[in-house]
């Protein structure tokens, strides 16, 4: 085993321990908020693979989350499938949807692609309402209290631990997030990841090195959507409710904001992006409750972040490291 692989393993084990120990130190409610961080993290990994690594902007990832969320909700209520079992199905369904969307979308580039994806985000709520018999229409689907929803009524026993709903959600979301993180890392470090980056950096160069543009882009869309589907499934389970308004256009935009704050094209800062999506609106509300103030605070902070940290959180960490290294070098005689 090489040194770097060993180090990766150690880092993951350490992070894993921190993540899994956290609920013991925070309130139930905090654990629930952190489970949303885990859910957003899953979606952000997917979006980063598409936008950060392959260079394809998506303003429609909320729609893929909706597909995942509705797959889970409908399977649970109409077909009696246990919540965890719906997640893999949601991943497959959304992944296929993403791949199919990616085939024609691959012909579009830049702003045109952004508009096409935005169109899906805008259309999704109406489509869901149109098929009312299937999706429950505007009234949505309520999962709370159904036997398929683990731990919502009685705590669940797992490996000798008794977990209430919030802690159960936390572990579920973060398990998926950690596995997703590793898979994402594995995809990106190999041949597929190189093809993604080649497409991002120069399509001409990528084609001349034998990379199929259409296939690579569609694949990136498929993988990315599969992540969004997993996040959507978890989102439905955590929120215990889906309706067309639970996946608004704003969600797609927040995801893009998260990935930019985290730093495009790097898995390093994604947790920061997920924390930003979850906590910044709440925090902005605490600053002032006068009309419109939270939105202004949120916007101002976002502008500051983008101005001060062009590389996002990932860029900040790299810069900090350069600083400490330089400091160390100065001390040397």
């Amino acid at each position: 085993m090489s040194r770097t692989t060993l180090r990766t393993l150690i880092v993951f084990v350490v992070v894993g321990i921190v993540v899994f120990a956290l609920p013991a130190f925070v309130t139930d409610f905090r654990a629930q908020q952190f489970s949303y961080v885990g859910i957003y993290l899953v979606a952000l990994i997917g979006l980063d693979i598409l936008t950060g690594y392959t260079g394809q902007i998506s303003l429609g990832h909320g729609a893929f989350m909706a597909i995942g969320g509705y797959t889970t909700a409908i399977l649970m209520t109409d077909h009696g499938v246990k919540d965890i079992a719906t997640i893999p199905i949601a991943i497959v369904v959304t992944g296929v949807a993403g791949y199919l969307f990616g085939l024609p979308a691959a012909r579009l580039s830049g702003l045109y692609l952004a508009l096409a994806t935005f169109a899906i985000a805008v259309a999704t709520p109406s489509v869901i309402k149109r098929f009312e018999g299937f999706t429950g229409g505007g009234s949505g689907v309520n999962l709370f209290g159904t036997p398929e929803l683990t731990a919502s009524l009685t705590p669940v026993r797992f490996a000798g631990l008794e977990l209430n709903f919030n802690n159960w959600l936390y572990y579920l979301a973060w398990s998926v997030a950690m596995v997703g993180y590793v898979i994402g890392w594995l995809i990106l470090r190999g041949r597929t990841g190189r093809a993604f980056r080649a497409v991002r950096d120069s399509e001409t160069a990528a084609v001349s090195s034998g990379v199929s543009l259409a296939r690579t882009k569609a694949l990136a869309f498929g993988i990315s959507a599969a992540y969004a589907g997993a996040a959507g499934a978890l989102f439905a389970i955590a929120t215990t409710y889906v309706n067309p308004d639970t996946f608004p256009v704003a969600l797609s935009i927040f995801l893009l904001v998260g990935v930019v704050v985290a730093g495009l094209g790097s898995l390093t800062g994604l947790i920061v992006g997920a924390v930003f999506i979850q906590f910044m609106p709440l925090w902005a509300q605490n600053v002032s409750k006068s009309p419109g103030a939270p939105a202004v605070v949120y916007g101002a902070i976002l502008i500051l972040v983008v101005l001060a940290l062009p590389g996002g959180a990932a860029g900040l960490f790299v810069r900090l490291q350069q600083l400490t290294r330089r400091g160390r070098n100065f001390q040397k005689p």
Partner: protein
């Protein structure tokens, strides 16, 4: 590679530590229900303070202003009411975690006056499971009162949309027995409840609905629906829509040269500001004579100019909600629901608990709410858990609403 990994772990650990230290435990309370101390009652709710539906924000602000006024005068049974409002931007996916925050972190005594049908539907099973009162839901959906047996911790406030539709039906049956009605309705529970109520009110009369066109709330416009309704040849147009679409309905019907004998516009879309806009400086003749219902005092109505309650209303707003537009009747709604809450809390007594409050609300007769139209009582009993079921018809004339006739009472059972 090494550098990258260290920064990865740095990032992960830093954020987790920040998050963990940010955790604050909720206030510890002994014995009594959460949210009640000897000197305070904590209520919480969600409201669209930002976003597309932020026009509804005055509902929570008006209530907050009234609580502050009551607090300044000693509170309820010696307890001051604290009302924490969180912004869900009208998105049920936000309503759920925010409501959990109110219950699990802020430890509210009750969730109060949360606004919006789908947001409240999303948290209803949860709140009932946690045995937290879901008090005076700010939505006219019929389900709050109808499904009381299944969700005993949930109670609405305003007349249900079904009751409102029923009043229009009864009115038409009585005054225009041969009316042929064309209905524009929003394609969700809100529009369907109104339409259902209308049909119920029309039962056993010759007046009938001959055309009904749904529209989607996300639709760009409703011109084709109005054209179809016109071609039905109906002599009465009923608009069961939100303000933006009601405006379009008036405008398109006018452009098509449709002159129905009567127009009905539901309560949600009949604010004075909307009506004035629809009238377009008197260019749109359809607007005049429109019929709607009311249960609140309209701050623009000259008959309440010297009404002590409406004077107090303006005084409270100036004092506790400076900058508020007092002509917006949604502030009146907020104060009305706060007044009833204070009344209920007072009756629940010194030993306030969730159980004692629910017991009060189970058979509740609260007359004399000064912000409601005279004679309207807030009342529940037996199986009937619809607090307000009385309303008044009003007609838009000369740029203002004028009420006519007496109180219309609807019995759900």
């Amino acid at each position: 590679m090494h550098r990258k990994l260290t920064s990865t772990s740095l990032a992960l650990i830093a954020t987790l530590v920040v998050g963990a230290t940010a955790a604050i435990a909720g206030t510890v309370l002994s014995r009594s229900d959460p949210g009640v101390t000897s000197s305070s009652i904590l209520l919480g709710g969600t409201a669209p303070l930002t976003g597309l539906a932020s026009a509804y924000a005055p509902v929570s602000r008006g209530a907050d202003a009234y609580f502050e006024y009551v607090n300044a005068r000693g509170g309820v049974n010696g307890r001051k009411i604290e009302y924490k409002v969180l912004d869900d931007a009208y998105n049920p996916a936000e309503t759920v975690p925010l409501t959990r925050q109110l219950v699990e972190q802020d430890k509210v005594f009750a969730v109060f006056n949360s606004l919006g049908t789908s947001g409240n539907l999303a948290v209803r099973p949860y709140l009932n499971q946690m045995k937290v009162p879901q008090l005076f839901v700010a939505s006219g959906a019929t389900t709050w009162g109808r499904d009381y047996a299944q969700y005993p911790y949930t109670i609405g406030f305003q007349p249900s949309y079904q009751a409102e539709g029923w009043v229009y039906g009864k009115y038409l049956a009585r005054t225009a027995p041969g009316a042929t009605i064309a209905v524009l309705f929003q394609n969700d529970d809100y529009g369907k409840d109104l339409l259902g109520g209308l049909k119920r009110g029309l039962q056993r009369s010759k007046a009938k609905v001959i055309a009904a066109q749904p529209y989607d709330p996300t639709a760009p416009d409703i011109s084709s629906q109005i054209a179809k309704l016109k071609s039905s040849g109906a002599d009465t147009l009923a608009i069961f829509a939100t303000p933006a679409f009601a405006l379009q309905a008036y405008s398109f019907a006018n452009k098509l040269g449709w002159k129905p004998k009567r127009v009905i516009n539901n309560n949600v879309a009949s604010g004075s500001a909307t009506m004035a806009k629809a009238a377009a400086d008197g260019q749109n003749k359809l607007v005049n004579g429109t019929i709607s219902i009311a249960f609140l005092k309209d701050p623009n109505d000259p008959q309440w100019k010297n009404d002590p309650a409406m004077k107090l209303y303006r005084k409270i707003l100036t004092r506790y909600e400076p900058g508020a537009n007092a002509d917006d009747s949604l502030y009146v709604y907020g104060m009305a629901v706060a007044w009833t809450t204070v009344d209920a809390l007072r009756r629940a007594g010194k030993n306030l608990s969730r159980a004692s409050l629910l017991k009060v609300l189970d058979t509740f007769t609260s007359a004399g709410n000064p912000f409601l139209l005279p004679g309207i009582a807030v009342k529940t009993s037996g199986r009937d858990h619809f607090p307000i079921e009385q309303m008044v018809l009003q007609r838009w004339q000369g740029g203002a609403w004028r009420s006519f006739g007496g109180l219309w009472g609807y019995r759900a059972f």
